[in-house]
């Protein structure tokens, strides 16, 4: 399995080097994409200095946690998002007869993946950690990688669930788009600004709040925590991520057993 995974990365990097201009353009897009989100936050908080007690420095850090988890997900598990496409054109049937686990087979399909977004995210996270005045001690250095990993697993779990739904409904573009939007736009702000229903949804149904809000509340020593949970729940991200991924994987296996294909 490890050997296969190594090959996967070798091909990815070689592909990226082969299409160099295209790679550079996509790297530029990653900068514009995250840059415009951060610039929007900056402009808004330039006019309105406080959002529920969070200022721009806090929000920049909040975005950094999400961005890093998201970039790590896109780097490692990008292929999962392609499952609906594979199901549609019948490519998925071919993966079913691979000797290794089907989800693993999906993940190791090479693309033009290069860890440019991840590098960008790590640099940005480093800068905002300093900028937001987060105390960097041994505990912080130990916890942050786990929190990031937890966020990555949460995103992976959601994508596995959406991919599984494609076994039945084939075209899930609409659903995928809406889930993506929920994640990217609703994680940008402290969830305290949302109605109680949305907060509960982002905490317990699709636990995106564990990607950045709860950990940020803990690291920034924010007094309030939405839903009255103690700030230390922020450190539970990896546990939430693993649990959620477990549920998602069980659903994936359930779907796989009933997978019929679209008839090619």
């Amino acid at each position: 399995m490890l050997a296969v995974y190594g090959q996967h990365w070798r091909i990815n990097v070689l592909t990226a080097l082969e299409y160099r201009e295209n790679f550079l353009l996509w790297a530029a897009f990653a900068v514009v994409y995250h840059g415009s989100a951060i610039a929007t936050l900056w402009v808004v908080l330039h006019t309105f200095p406080s959002m529920n007690g969070w200022d721009f420095r806090d929000m920049a850090f909040l975005y950094g946690l999400w961005m890093t988890a998201h970039a790590l997900h896109d780097t490692l598990f990008f292929g999962v998002g392609n499952v609906p496409e594979y199901v549609r054109d019948g490519e998925f049937d071919r993966l079913l007869i691979r000797p290794l686990d089907t989800l693993f087979a999906v993940i190791v399909i090479p693309g033009q993946i290069f860890p440019d977004e991840l590098i960008l995210a790590l640099v940005y996270l480093g800068i905002t950690t300093w900028y937001a005045g987060v105390r960097v001690d041994a505990a912080f250095v130990f916890c942050v990688p786990f929190v990031i990993l937890g966020g990555t697993l949460i995103e992976l779990a959601i994508n596995v669930i959406v991919a599984t739904i494609a076994f039945w409904f084939v075209r899930v573009d609409a659903l995928r788009w809406i889930v993506l939007q929920l994640e990217q736009e609703f994680t940008r702000y402290p969830i305290g600004i949302y109605t109680r229903g949305v907060r509960l949804f982002l905490t317990f149904v699709f636990p995106f709040a564990f990607m950045n809000y709860f950990p940020a509340t803990y690291f920034l020593h924010k007094p309030e925590s939405a839903l009255g949970l103690p700030p230390a729940v922020g450190l539970l991200s990896p546990v939430i991520g693993l649990t959620f991924l477990g549920v998602a994987y069980a659903f994936w296996r359930f779907g796989l057993d009933r997978y019929k294909g679209v008839g090619h």
Partner: protein, 271 residues
């Protein structure tokens, strides 16, 4: 091809192209639901964000909460039309080489893309009705006076054509590069930010505002929106619409030049 006798111009074929485009777009039901669903989600999100910001801070001059909610709602409704890349078929045809057969037809190829794009946009414009109804459940949208609405409509039309030219030019770059997606996404994101679709340009630092108002992105979203909410008053209509018109002329001329240069050097990959 240039030697062929040009048939007299007739409008009917282009009307047909437009109708065909409407029918084609209507077949993708899922995309329709996505647009409307995502529209509702965003308007709900924006309402919560602005309400939270206005609750804890002093309202900026000239834009009270109800005005900013109106601004956001109208911006999203405009996005249903302005965010459509109505010339994407040009890229597709350049990419798979089928553009060649279009050049052999007795039609004006740019006009064909214009008709096709207009049909596509008209279909998306029809989504404004259900979206507006949905939006009214979520936020209150102010309705300005008739004169303001007329100025807004004119400004919106100018903005639409500016957007059309930008999309046309972007798709034309495929004559040279064959691949345009990354560049296109970069421009889309810059338009969202610098055009004032997400945040009104009047919230930007004053030094930046002057530069931003002069860019074509502002001509697409910001100018019609600021007219709608009254931030640009009747005394400034002439200059605001004038800047839009200048951009339209510049970009339309650029489109013509790029199209001429591009269509002379068509490269078709393989067979």
């Amino acid at each position: 091809m240039a030697l062929a006798v040009r048939p007299p111009f007739r409008l009917e074929p282009y009307l047909e192209f437009g109708k065909k485009a409407i029918a084609r777009e209507a077949t993708y039901r899922f995309d329709v639901f996505t647009s409307i669903g995502s529209f509702a989600l965003r308007i709900y999100l924006l309402r919560m964000v602005w309400v939270a910001l206005y609750a804890r801070n002093a309202a900026p001059h000239g834009l009270p909460l109800h005005a900013i909610l109106t601004y956001s709602a109208v911006a999203l409704l405009m996005g249903l039309v302005l965010d459509v890349d109505q010339v994407s078929s040009l890229y597709t045809k350049l990419h798979d080489g089928s553009i060649v057969s279009d050049f052999m037809r007795p039609i004006s190829v740019p006009l064909y893309f214009f008709a096709d794009g207009t049909g596509e946009v008209l279909f998306h414009a029809s989504l404004i009705v259900p979206s507006l109804v949905l939006a009214l459940f979520i936020v209150h949208i102010d309705v300005p006076s008739g004169g303001t609405l007329a100025a807004f409509a004119l400004s919106f039309v100018l903005g639409y054509f500016v957007g059309f030219c930008i999309n046309f030019i972007l798709n034309c770059t495929a004559f040279w590069t064959l691949e345009i997606h990354a560049v296109q996404l970069i421009v889309t994101w810059l338009t969202d930010l610098l055009g004032g679709e997400l945040v009104p340009l009047v919230f930007f630092p004053v030094a930046l505002q002057h530069a931003l108002f002069a860019l074509p992105f502002a001509a697409m979203f910001s100018t019609p929106l600021l007219i709608y909410v009254g931030e640009i008053g009747p005394d400034r209509y002439a200059s605001a619409l004038g800047i839009q018109a200048i951009w339209l002329v510049v970009l339309a001329l650029a489109s013509v030049v790029i199209w001429r240069a591009g269509s002379r050097r068509i490269v078709v990959q393989g067979g």
